[in-house]
């Protein structure tokens, strides 16, 4: 009984904050656009009694989902989001792994400081940090001034409002989510394993591939999902740094909601996005489960 009560609490939380909002969004996605407040029909009218509820359900349909399939903008945006998420996950891994490795091999007394440095950016608002990247990457920005000043380039580089800027922004923002799980996997590793591998005839490099990488696998997978999943729906970074060139589903969603005021289509976009995300989320959970089992 006590166990039941204990489990009930998080489930109630999940119900109130996830399932109910999702059902509302799902309902809107089945509605039609209307010039009204709220800007869709039908709305549930309890005054009409049973007939009202029946009318309400009869007016719901999957039109908006069919519409998403007809307009190439939407599937292109989904594919583009997945591509950007995939590439930036790889980039974040390439940047994050050496950092995590360096942290894990640093002397013990340095580690809390290094950890602090990784978490430190979170102390400032995410939005402000993305804005400051605009200041760095723009044509008159610090980066161009520096490169021009050093004489490395003669004309300023156009980085802002290109996909490159989006990748820079994503890698920068999501780096801690990659570093921390990898670091925690590497830190737990027994240093004598590498010595044993060397003793048995491995070079340093083969020991890294045969021992270090497999043993940090769960950290790598966790980090990749922690980057990949939120980046698919990322909206702020592509809209601030990517300009009009970058097509991402989060941006499309925003435009449908606020520029077109088409709530039903926007909701349909959101529902499809959620369905796409379920796959990596389930895989992520399976990875976590596996790593917990391995520890026992």
């Amino acid at each position: 009984m006590r166990r039941l009560a204990l489990i009930a609490l998080p489930y109630a939380w999940l119900l109130a904050l996830f399932l109910v909002p999702f059902l509302i969004v799902f309902k809107i996605s089945l509605s039609d656009i209307a010039t009204a407040i709220p800007p869709y029909t039908p709305t549930l009218d309890f005054r009409a009694g049973w007939q009202g509820i029946k009318d309400f359900f009869s007016e719901l349909d999957f039109e908006n989902f069919a519409f998403l399939a007809t307009d190439s903008l939407y599937w292109k945006a989904y594919v583009s989001s997945l591509t950007i998420a995939f590439i930036s996950t790889i980039l974040t891994l390439l940047v994050g792994y050496p950092i995590a490795y360096g942290m894990a091999s640093a002397p013990d007394h340095w580690r809390p400081t290094l950890m602090m440095l990784v978490i430190l950016p979170f102390w400032t608002s995410f939005l402000i940090r993305v804005y400051s990247w605009m200041g760095i990457l723009s044509t008159e920005g610090y980066l161009n001034q520096l490169l021009l000043g050093l004489g490395l380039i003669s004309t300023p580089l156009t980085i802002l409002n290109t996909p490159t800027a989006v990748y820079i922004g994503i890698v920068y923002t999501y780096l801690p989510f990659m570093i921390l799980p990898i670091y925690s996997a590497l830190e737990r590793m027994d240093g004598s394993l590498l010595e044993a591998a060397e003793d048995l005839g491995c070079s340093r490099l083969t020991a890294f591939w045969l021992i270090t990488v497999p043993l940090s696998k769960t950290g790598i997978i966790a980090g990749c999902f922690l980057v990949f999943i939120p980046v698919i729906g990322e909206f702020v970074i592509p809209s601030l740094l990517g300009g009009s060139q970058t097509l991402m589903i989060g941006k499309v969603l925003w435009e449908e909601f606020f520029n077109n005021r088409d709530w039903p289509v926007a909701s349909a976009v959101a529902v499809v996005l959620l369905l796409i995300l379920i796959v990596p989320i389930v895989l992520f959970q399976m990875n976590e489960q596996k790593s917990r089992e391995a520890e026992q």
Binding site: S192, A196, A197, G201
Partner: protein
């Protein structure tokens, strides 16, 4: 009789497998190994014994190649080891933590070193099978290290470093993680495997009983130096210093002034106490301070003064350590000197002859004690 005894260190024609020549290792200011020169011979089971921090692990890590000597050279079969990295040495090491690869099965762990040498598949399989058989792990080949017991893990670690048939096998506290019963069984198993494979073993341990059981020679270390390296029997019976006598087993040390008499020395250690006599071959000046080292099992305990013994003193029992098969009596003499005497408990405890506060006589033969300089 003597020709069958394994004592290559006494044979000048024998070439040592390992030679330490004036090896010093410093970590910053700290001297871990202090100018050591010694040899280890083929097929030896050589134990480095000492308290933690005495440098025994550093010695082993230098052999494995994880540390380089600050001064001096280490030779393996006459070849200088300094330029050879750990992965190219014909030396394998068994780590204290075993360092088994957790993501690989027992089979893959044992095959790891063989695969690095790009040996043909059939040869690897045959060698791993042989190792599994030697360590009685056949049924566990497919398991991961976390799915087997501590004792089995220890055997996997041993099989893994034996698989490459090294010239020298290093064992760092190999039984540190095992409980007492299993440790004893494993010690004999280890000796058995060493004999079967004919590999030279160097073991690092802080457990003197373990070192005495398995080793052909024991090197007792302190502060980066080998104090004495000899067979277990000689280390125990003929320690060369108070440190060694004290480190190995139980001992009573009686300091006193020595005077030459007949084949040995008289030792006067306190006023009002009888002069002790020890027949021992050593060079002392008359009046020099010597230390009489006396093993408790060589001291007899009796109610009456024993007949015809030079070495007999009277004292009071202040403590009895009951070990089941043995009892150690702590007897204090009137001048405050404590002496330990050990007797086998051949009778039931309730019929014990002596108890606390009893006044007893302790006695030992002329040859029982060892006379040391310090």
């Amino acid at each position: 009789m003597a020709q069958n005894v394994f004592e290559p260190w006494n044979d000048p024609a024998e070439k040592p497998l390992i030679q330490f020549k004036g090896v010093t290792k410093r970590f910053g200011e700290f001297v871990a190994i202090d100018n050591q020169t010694f040899d280890i011979y083929e097929r030896e089971f050589f134990a480095l014994l000492g308290p933690s921090g005495c440098g025994k692990t550093t010695m082993m890590r230098m052999l494995a190649g994880f540390e380089t000597p600050t001064e001096g050279t280490i030779l393996l079969g006459g070849q200088d080891m300094a330029p050879i990295p750990p992965n190219k040495r014909a030396i394998n090491m068994m780590f204290q933590s075993y360092a088994l690869f957790p993501h690989l099965s027992v089979w893959e762990n044992i095959a790891f070193g063989l695969r690095r040498d790009n040996k043909p598949k059939a040869e690897i399989e045959a060698r791993v099978a042989e190792m599994l058989k030697l360590t009685r792990l056949e049924q566990f080949a497919k398991r991961k290290p976390h799915q087997i017991s501590g004792g089995q893990r220890q055997r996997v670690a041993l099989a893994r470093c034996l698989a490459k048939a090294p010239k020298l096998l290093l064992l760092d506290e190999p039984m540190g993680a095992l409980d007492a019963k299993l440790r004893q069984a494993t010690q004999f198993e280890l000796m058995d495997i060493q004999e079967k494979t004919g590999t030279t073993f160097v073991i690092v341990t802080h457990d003197q009983e373990e070192a005495m059981t398995v080793a052909s020679r024991v090197a007792v270390m302190d502060n980066g130096r080998i104090i004495q390296a000899d067979t277990p029997a000689r280390i125990y019976e003929m320690p060369n210093s108070v440190y060694v006598a004290d480190f190995i087993g139980e001992v009573t040390i009686i300091p006193g002034k020595v005077h030459r008499r007949d084949k040995g020395y008289d030792v006067t250690f306190a006023e009002g106490q009888p002069t002790l006599y020890s027949e021992f071959d050593a060079e002392f000046d008359n009046g020099q301070t010597g230390y009489l080292a006396l093993r408790p099992e060589k001291v007899a305990i009796s109610a009456e003064r024993p007949e015809g013994r030079t070495n007999a003193v009277q004292g009071k029992i202040i403590d009895i350590a009951y070990l089941g098969n043995l009892s150690t009596y702590h007897v204090v003499l009137p001048n405050g000197q404590k002496i330990k005497a050990q007797t086998a408990n051949t009778r039931r405890l309730s019929r014990r002859d002596f108890t606390w506060e009893d006044t007893v006589w302790l006695s030992w033969t002329d040859t029982a004690a060892v006379l040391l300089k310090g």
